[in-house]
Amino acid sequence: MKVVYFAWVRERIGMAEEIVDPPPAVRTVADLIGWLSGRGEQYAYAFENARVIRAAIDHAHVKPDTAIAGAREIAFFPPMTGG
């Protein structure tokens, strides 16, 4: 499963994308944030305020309780500031 990061989430983690293979117990977007947060200090820092983190699965916005099964690409990023 490909995970991509943007803006300060990307900067804190220190990379733009990676391939991860979470265990089966990681079922939802929120589960994945929790699992990633345990991978190191930079992840814990990026996700320290999980409430503000936005996620997308395969280019569509999703909520924390959305299941990740079947996802090709999961993205994490701060609130958008376009326009």
């Binding site: 997308a56 280019h59 993205a75 701060p78 958008m80 500031t81 376009g82 326009g83």
Partner: protein, 155 residues
């Protein structure tokens, strides 16, 4: 008749007059054209900025804008729609975003343009980083933008 819809993400600047002309050339069924241009502000005093850098999520940005363009077409009787969003480094006074809506009716053109701008602000995956005297910093999302976008949600 198919409504012409143009969506472009680009580093280059755009020409508002050319985009209006492209939507209206040779047509006599358009009564109203509304354009919204979003421009990089320079800030003032201690908040003066020398540039913005816009990061975006390629693929998702096009998909998200496309979904909102479709929603605008479903909600208002538009005769044409153009959305251009720039990314990369943009200096004060330069264009960031353009929305052009054309319709027989002015209310439809105004409302569709406002709807699209509210959604671009809050849902399109772009992030602004400011360069100022004290270095670079990511721009915080404004809660009033979320409130503006929420008014379009069907209850």
């Amino acid at each position: 008749m198919t409504v012409p819809v143009t969506i472009r993400l680009q580093q280059a600047d755009f020409d508002t007059a050319q985009e209006i002309a492209a939507l209206s050339a040779g047509r006599t069924d358009i009564g109203a054209v509304v354009t919204f241009s979003g421009i990089c502000r320079g800030g003032a005093g201690g908040d003066a900025i020398s540039a913005l850098t816009l990061e975006h999520y390629p693929g998702m940005a096009e998909a998200e804008i496309g979904r909102h363009a479709e929603e605008a077409l479903a909600r208002w009787p538009l005769t044409g729609l153009t959305i251009i969003h720039r990314y990369g480094r943009i200096e004060p006074g330069q264009n960031i975003v353009l929305v052009v809506t054309a319709s027989s009716h002015r209310e439809a053109a105004f409302q569709a343009a406002e709807f699209l701008m509210d959604y671009l602000k809050t849902r399109a995956p772009f992030w602004k980083q400011e360069e100022g005297a004290s270095g670079t910093s990511w721009v915080d999302a404004a809660s009033h933008d979320d409130a503006a976008a929420a008014r379009w949600t069907k209850s």
